[in-house]
Point group: C2
Amino acid sequence: MSDRAEAAPRGLLIVYTGDGKGKTTAALGLCVRAVGYGMRVAIIQFVKGSWHYGEKDGVRRLAPEVSFEAMGKGFVGIIDDKLPRDEHEKAARETLAEVEQVITRGEHDIVILDEVNVALGLKLLTPQAVIDVVRKRPPKMHVVCTGRDAPPELIDIADLVTEMKEIKHPFRKGMKAQRGLDF
Amino acid sequence: MSDRAEAAPRGLLIVYTGDGKGKTTAALGLCVRAVGYGMRVAIIQFVKGSWHYGEKDGVRRLAPEVSFEAMGKGFVGIIDDKLPRDEHEKAARETLAEVEQVITRGEHDIVILDEVNVALGLKLLTPQAVIDVVRKRPPKMHVVCTGRDAPPELIDIADLVTEMKEIKHPFRKGMKAQRGLDF
């Protein structure tokens, strides 16, 4: 078992980034695994509306161990951008404040910051602001940051980073997004 | 919506490959999403023993929409290799035969061939044998192939391919594998 060394278990900072499919999907998969061990998971969304009802209904099946915290407080409109930029920044800051509360309350084993990297990529938040919050977690709590464009500062302090790289994508062939797969 | 073109929805062949974490995890996440839409998923494992009880218990929460088909018929011992090679080949062929039954029965919306790419990488199966089976699926069934070392032949015929690329891994820093995250 060369990959199981002797250091004590501690809470990891995990980053799923890259342009490929599977980042939020892998975070959902982590929920399944964690629930199997009776761990408690909180999911906090930084891009409101990025989850469709199927994902929410699927996660509901995993409740009460998995909860959406702060849902609906994430910011709106990265794509349908009708809001002024300062409102996006405000919403991102409010979502991060909610994350800070969840993290410092310490009731969860895993806290997922869904699409936080997108907010960072858009410079709605500074890497340092997110890092400061992540560092406040209890010693055994894992934090997962998903979304393309994870900044180097976050990758530097992360324990586990996977880049989901798009090799082939059906939309490029003119295929529709499909319920149950893409959303 | 530039990424939602006009072609009719059809069953996709999805490949999660690469050396990074998140391949089987993303497949588990697909189960959550699919269950939210009332879709039926079968998971067939090509590497027996690669799933620990937490993953199975988590998936059980998603039942009956998600079932382990052919579990325990996968082959044993890629790592703890005490079996002769021809027994591995036989077990891999038997698992593929089970996949063929599940696929042709057509009762599922998504069929996940967990770690089949590993069996292909070890040449326990030929890419053509797997491709022949995958091609027998009903028009709307999605098939997901996970595992490192997906062969070019499979990537060629796939619709969606994500490479999970390891950027940073805690085991390299001497950290233990952790329950709920790694297994």
